[in-house]
């Protein structure tokens, strides 16, 4: 049975900076700290309007990729942040480029609730014992994982969900917009069902739909796939014409968007596509990765995937189709704007991750060798 690692709480009227993250607690019901929902204006010569005071935030997940960045932003904002994970990965890891001081500060404040979110009874009991104000659901895949959370927190102020642009129905009319048809049969239908559940419950929810996420610590081999080949001086095999258009969004911009919807009336029951402002062709992405990492322009080989049997292996990390979404709604409604353009973002990823010798998956050029070996090259 997953253990309840709870937290000492002090009632404080404003920002709460909790001293210890891992002190055990013997299961007594925690009461949430006092919240000042709205602060009165404090004029200090200039206009100063401060946010609603710190929230008691639960992140489902938070130790792998998006949540690593999001949790830092939230802690810096002065919120009390708890990560709900099974504890398989370290609760905190120092980010490349993060100072020891910042890391120590963050580690001292972040809280951990150890458990398996598939254990619905535990989720319900542990969450209702703590009474969070806001839940960020970063790793939820199925609607049944969400119901116990909602049941446990009837006074929840906001449920913020990491969905996916993968829910959109494939179309010849692009970009995808939040009002477009969704595909109930897609691989991501669990995300759709979760969004529907949120809509049907009386909860203030917000859903963000990223496209392909990239950045340091990415565990999906998106940019890493290109970097492995560039480093090895290998050609980049790209299926079909290479003019398929995709879209990458930097994880830090996504984290910023997650923060920006917190307590934001404009985000109430709204879906937002979050990704880069510009899209990119497959061929263009190969070139952008090379440029960002300081490699020479790559040799691109086009091939017809139908002429090969790759077995269970993926020969290319993207869907072989156009796939991109408009982020206009987030820009107009939230005033959100990505900080990273593609080359700058890829450089950030390279400089903080792959370029330092770290990556998640070993290079596997077996499918490349099949392609190159057959010497079947499509004319552009």
């Amino acid at each position: 049975m997953a253990s309840l690692v709870a937290v000492q709480q002090q009632t404080q009227p404003s920002l709460s900076i909790l001293p210890s993250s891992l002190s055990d607690f013997n299961g007594t019901r925690l009461h949430t700290q006092l919240q000042c929902k709205r602060k009165v204006w404090q004029t200090r010569g200039a206009l100063q309007v401060t946010a609603s005071s710190s929230k008691n935030i639960l992140i489902m997940g938070g130790t792998r990729f998006i949540g690593v960045f999001l949790s830092r932003l939230l802690v810096k904002e002065g919120h009390q942040v708890t990560l709900f994970t099974r504890g398989k990965a370290p609760i905190t890891q120092q980010l490349p480029g993060e100072s020891d001081q910042d890391f120590a500060d963050f580690s001292s404040k972040i809280l951990h609730l150890k458990g398996d979110r598939k254990d619905f009874d535990f989720v319900k009991s542990s969450l209702s014992a703590k009474g969070f104000d806001v839940v960020y659901d970063i790793n939820g895949r199925e609607a049944d994982e969400v119901a116990p959370i909602l049941d446990a927190l009837p006074k929840l102020e906001q449920y913020i969900y990491c969905s996916s642009a993968g829910v959109y129905l494939k179309t010849d009319l692009l970009p995808h917009s939040e009002t477009d048809a969704v595909d109930p049969k897609s691989r991501h239908k669990g995300k759709l069902e979760t969004e529907s559940l949120l809509e049907s419950r009386a909860v203030n929810w917000t859903s963000l739909r990223p496209v392909y996420i990239y950045g340091p610590l990415n565990y999906n081999p998106v940019e890493e796939w290109f970097f492995h080949r560039l480093k090895a001086g290998r050609p980049i095999p790209i299926p079909n014409s290479g003019m398929q258009i995709t879209q990458l969004g930097h994880v830090k911009d996504l984290a910023a968007a997650f923060v920006q919807v917190l307590g934001n009336e404009k985000a109430t029951k709204q879906v937002f596509n979050i990704s880069g402002e510009k899209y990119v062709t497959f061929d263009g992405l190969a070139r952008a990765c090379a440029k960002a990492a300081g490699f020479p322009e790559p040799d691109i080989i086009h091939y017809n995937p139908k002429e090969f049997d790759f077995g269970k292996k993926k020969a290319f990390p993207f869907r072989d189709q156009h796939f991109f979404a408009s982020v206009d709604k987030a820009k107009h409604v939230l005033g959100w704007k990505p900080e990273f353009d593609l080359v700058k973002g890829l450089a950030d990823s390279y400089n903080l991750d792959f370029g330092r010798g770290t990556y998640r998956k070993e290079a596997d050029f077996s499918t490349d060798d099949l392609i190159l070996g057959k010497s079947l090259v499509l004319q552009a």
Partner: protein, 407 residues
């Protein structure tokens, strides 16, 4: 959409907090501002805002600019303007002036449309010119003349706004611009082209992206910016709409109704932007009615969705209720000029109308699946489905590909 309250609170912020700039497309610098990060809650002066202090973070978060959606719709919307449209006498852009004239007249503005050339020329027998009576009966004035002698054509009339929907280079537009300036025209608008964007790995083309320095339109855009205090430039792509002077969807219908294969160069995945001309007209009208907002801006004059070339063929077929057979070919291998064989560029040619949405609060209404049904109905109504057509280039392509054609 903007509200009066939004603009009011914007004014308050501007006066009290010098770091804030008026709503614009540019991000404010990432300094530590304690004011609102966005449009949230600007409607009420006493609601709270999300305050983020970026300076202590090691990486930047969201931009601190005021929301671009809080544009102010000023009283000039109610002001009626006298507008002169200098219109081309042929080609894909001709229909823009036709719709724009009618929309302005519908909104109560005064319109003169000056078409280049002679009233009795053969070109005037084709749409939209053949339908100019619609402009006249709506209260507009139609004249003909030489862009080098606009004053003569309009017989001394004065205008608040001039749209040049004719010239592709400085030689053709300069006389119109110069005359407008000397005649006291307040706002000058120019139909340029999204074709001037430099091809990119990172679509879409957005306003501000690099353009081909040698393009004639670029010279015009620069000149206008130099001599006018109030100007705006519009860069369109392709259009559909009743009264079009140039074939667009008809090219697909011609083949689909005759059960001929549709030859598309390359992969068919090329994205393009095909807008209903009413969207271009509404954008232009917003610029006329919001000159301060539009001033000094470039607008991609396109709908908010791109379509693949294959997709366009499929949508045309769906609109016609008929099947379609698409064949792809390599123009070089066949030995033909793709520009003669096919009405769209054989590459991604894809711009998005971001400035119009950000700055003018414009929205696209183009709905290709629906709009193409209406277009097909008209195609049949005028009997074009029965018209005998030669498909010489198609036949050459199909022969090369050894694709049979049912007779």
């Amino acid at each position: 959409m903007a509200t009066i309250a939004s603009s009011f609170s914007t004014l308050i912020f501007s006066s009290l907090h010098s770091k804030l700039s008026p709503p614009s497309l540019l991000s404010s610098p990432h300094t530590s501002l304690s004011s609102s990060s966005s449009s949230s809650s600007q409607s009420s002066l006493f609601s709270s805002f999300l305050s983020i202090s970026p300076t202590s973070l090691t990486y930047p978060t969201c931009s601190r600019r005021l929301s671009a959606s809080t544009f102010t719709v000023k009283a000039s919307a109610a002001e009626k303007k006298k507008v002169l449209i200098v219109n081309t006498n042929s080609g894909g852009h001709a229909v823009i002036g036709f719709y724009f004239a009618k929309e302005l007249l519908g909104s109560g503005h005064e319109v003169t449309i000056m078409t280049v050339g002679e009233q009795n020329s053969d070109k005037m027998k084709k749409p939209p010119f053949s339908r100019f009576s619609e402009i006249v009966s709506a209260g507009g004035r139609a004249v003909w003349g030489d862009p080098a002698e606009v004053g003569k054509a309009v017989e001394g009339a004065t205008f608040d706004v001039v749209l040049d929907n004719n010239g592709k280079d400085l030689d053709t537009v300069r006389p119109v611009a110069d005359w407008s300036k000397s005649a006291g025209v307040k706002q000058f608008l120019f139909i340029s082209s999204a074709g001037i964007y430099v091809p990119t790995d990172e679509p879409p083309h957005v306003e501000g992206d690099a353009v081909k320095a040698s393009a004639g339109h670029v010279g015009v855009e620069k000149y206008i910016a130099e001599i006018f205090n109030s100007w705006a430039v519009f860069r369109p792509q392709y259009m559909i709409g009743s009264g079009n002077n140039k074939d667009c969807e008809e090219w697909f219908f011609d083949r689909i109704v005759r059960k001929r294969p549709v030859p598309i160069p390359g992969s068919g995945m090329q994205l393009t932007n095909i807008a209903h001309v009413r969207d271009l007209s509404s954008m232009l009208t917003l610029a006329v009615e919001n000159p301060e907002a539009a001033n000094g801006k470039i607008f991609n004059c396109v709908s908010d969705r791109a379509v693949t070339l294959d997709g366009m063929a499929k949508l045309c077929a769906q609109a016609a209720g008929l099947p379609v057979e698409i064949v792809h070919y390599d123009p070089k291998a066949v030995g033909i000029d793709a520009r003669k064989a096919f009405p769209f560029r054989n590459m991604h040619f894809y711009a998005e109308p971001r400035s119009a949405k950000d700055i003018l609060g414009w929205h696209a209404t183009t709905n290709l699946p629906e709009d193409l049904k209406e277009r097909f109905d008209e195609y049949v109504k005028i009997g074009r489905d029965k018209k005998p057509i030669q498909f010489e280039i198609d036949d050459k392509i199909l022969e090369f590909l050894k694709v049979p054609v049912a007779v």
